[in-house]
């Protein structure tokens, strides 16, 4: 098990509010191995970013990890203090967010920002760090590096800025990259360039990647495994192929059916009735039960869980007791 880079066990994130404690992430367990890309999908508010932020140690108070552990290559990181976490972030975990400008300082030339970061995490001198910065810029596909290295962030296009952010995330050769919607703000042609870049880096450097996105197409072509979140919980986790072709959780089935096809004409898209519950109104038992056409008495009482240590599984009573829901069937 030595190639497990990220090991999250029973993670629970809470937000204490005046009206009570909200649970944004509820009992999430997952692992990512060396060189593996784990996709995280789910609708808005499902808890994808909160999971990523917990791993990065960037939860905004009063949000807090209430239960669970996070290990990075065997070292526990969820209980580190701010300084300890700061050392891990940047050096051992890189972060890429949707808006590249959150990671770049608009007042400094990109080259200087890269050099600073490299010097912070390595013992290279200024000249060495500048050479390394140029190498990284070339590696992420910035053309004419000599001319561009002294430009400011606003002088780059959105796609080029995101490349710079990836270069920044790579400065310290991190073991893990958490990428939260890295291509959502970009055009399709640029999006494909960035995901191809992430895939190549992951393959060549053995970096583990957590890729948060709402785009199932991107997941299908980029990730090795995928975790589906619903109302703060894991609904299903497994290989991309299994989840796309043989989804087991009725929510995953519904999700797949609701995506318009590029190849076929369909008169009507499949619909999941209703909407995801708010954090203060999560139903008892399976959180999906009010929208699920298979829901039975057990679903309204007991919370289904993915068995411990499972790398594949669905948090669904129906799926766990042997019946599989196929894609053609109405959810």
């Amino acid at each position: 098990m030595s190639d497990v880079v990220l090991d999250v066990q029973n993670l629970r994130v809470e937000f204490p509010t005046r009206k009570g404690v909200l649970t944004a992430v509820d009992d999430i367990s997952l692992q990512i191995r060396r060189g593996e890309i784990l996709g995280m999908v789910g609708e808005s508010g499902a808890g994808k970013s909160m999971t990523g932020m917990s791993i990065l140690g960037l939860l905004e108070p009063p949000g807090r990890i209430a239960v669970g552990t996070i290990h990075l290559s065997g070292d526990r990181i969820d209980n580190l203090d701010d300084r300890g976490m700061q050392a891990v972030r940047g050096r051992r975990i890189g972060a890429i967010f949707q808006d590249p400008l959150t990671s770049l300082n608009p007042l400094f030339r990109v080259g200087d920002q890269l050099v600073e970061t490299i010097r912070l995490h390595t013992d290279l001198d200024r000249t060495g760090a500048r050479e390394r910065a140029k190498d990284l810029m070339r590696e992420v596909g910035i053309p004419a590096v000599e001319e561009r290295i002294d430009s400011y962030p606003h002088q780059f296009s959105g796609g080029m800025r995101q490349r710079i952010v990836i270069a920044l995330a790579l400065c310290a050769e991190p073991e893990l990259i958490v990428a939260d919607e890295p291509t959502t703000a970009l055009d399709v042609s640029i999006q494909a360039q960035i995901t191809a870049l992430l895939k190549r880096l992951c393959r060549e450097r053995g970096t583990a990647v957590m890729l948060v996105t709402h785009d199932m197409g991107v997941i299908a072509e980029t990730a090795d495994r995928v975790a589906v979140m619903y109302a703060g919980r894991l609904a299903e986790i497994g290989s991309v192929d299994d989840l796309v072709r043989r989804p087991r959780h009725p929510y995953t089935t519904g999700l797949m059916g609701s995506i318009p096809s590029l190849r076929r004409e369909v008169e009507e898209l499949q619909m999941i009735p209703g909407s995801m519950p708010r954090l203060n109104a999560i139903p008892k038992g399976c959180a999906f039960n009010p929208r699920c056409s298979h829901a039975g008495a057990r679903c309204r009482q007991e919370v289904p869980r993915i068995p411990d240590t499972a790398t594949t599984g669905a948090a669904c009573w129906l799926a766990q007791t042997g019946t599989t829901v196929t894609q053609g069937e109405p959810a």
């Binding site: 055009d187 042609s189 609701s258 096809s261 190849r263 999941i272």
Partner: protein
């Protein structure tokens, strides 16, 4: 021409330029010239009554500008828009259902507003009955009329926008990225609703999206845009079966396909150039694998003989006889 007989909208050589020059003093001091951005640069298409024409293309290609020209929010700098319907029955649905709903108004008042504008003399009881009916039409309950927009989810808010648009008894709806801010499962609800309403009320849609799979699902005819121009326009099935323009082909080859995932897809090279100084000739030539000399100096025209099946590309023109 049978096709034009039931046309509801005809757009002809439409242009919209924006002045993006630096302020006058800066221009004087730094000796910078005036700069013009051609957001829409000679666009034409026809929409038939009861049909959906989709505009698709990457960010900044001019889709929203066309929407604003058609709805009259912008004035054209050139060309002509002929609308053969009732201008008062043209409505618009925007991308962000929250920004476009007044947060201080109850939903019933929001929905009633276009109705009151259209027919100010309508008795209050009739207005409220109509609002209840509209709420039911879009899958909400009459009781929801008493709530405020923030009490609804994104998909529900977009339903409220649709109910509001329907209150104006539209015959023509301009929909600018109506589901782009929504989750796929919610998007499915809104798209199904829009299709159903189109059938029931014989609505015509100008449907804007950057998502080719959404456009495939919704449109009868698709116009692919690049840098302010339509590079190709075809009936939906034909566009997917036989894309003619190199940009369309690359786009179709680039987008991830859930049903046939390709894990080593090679992405399109380069980026969309600045619309302030677009490349000469065919503006796609710096990224086009088929570009030859003529493409760098001469601008390809879409051949105007047949409507709704045209391509602006020298290679496609020379290389295929199936372009009519």
């Amino acid at each position: 021409m049978t096709l034009r007989q039931n046309a509801i909208l005809e757009v002809d050589a439409l242009e919209r330029r924006f002045d993006v020059s630096a302020p006058w003093l800066n221009r004087l001091i730094e000796r910078k010239p005036r700069r013009t951005l051609r957001a829409v640069d000679g666009v034409d298409f026809v929409i038939k009554r009861g049909q959906t024409l989709a505009l698709v293309g990457e960010s900044g290609c001019g889709k929203s500008t066309i929407a604003k020209l058609v709805t009259g929010l912008h004035a054209p700098s050139g060309g002509k828009i002929s609308f053969y319907g009732d201008r008062d029955r043209l409505q618009m649905i925007f991308q962000d259902p929250f920004a476009s709903l007044n947060p201080r108004w109850r939903v019933a008042r929001i929905i009633a507003e276009p109705l009151r504008t259209l027919r100010p003399e309508t008795p209050a009881a009739e207005v409220s009955a109509r609002v209840d009916e509209l709420l039911r039409t879009v899958g909400l309950a009459p009781a929801d009329g008493l709530k405020f927009p923030h009490e609804f989810s994104g998909g529900q808010r977009q339903r409220i926008s649709i109910a509001r648009a329907l209150a104006g008894e539209p015959e023509f709806l301009v929909c600018d990225e109506p589901t782009s801010a929504l989750d796929v499962s919610v998007q499915a609800q809104v798209l199904n609703l829009m299709k159903r309403l189109q059938k029931e009320m014989d609505l015509t849609y100008l449907f804007i999206s950057h998502d080719l799979s959404v456009v495939r699902h919704m449109a009868d005819v698709i116009a692919v845009m690049y840098l302010g121009r339509i590079v190709e326009i075809q009936p939906t099935a034909d566009l997917f079966d036989n894309p003619l323009h190199p940009y369309t082909r690359l786009l179709l080859d680039t987008i991830p396909d859930l049903e046939a995932p390709c894990r080593d897809r090679s992405p399109m090279v380069g980026e969309v150039p600045s619309p302030v100084s677009p490349p000469p000739g065919c503006s796609f030539h710096p990224r086009c694998p088929l570009a030859f000399d003529r493409c760098r100096s001469e601008r390809p025209q879409r051949r105007a003989s047949v409507h709704n099946r045209r391509v602006a590309c020298f290679a496609a023109e020379e290389g295929s006889s199936d372009v009519q």
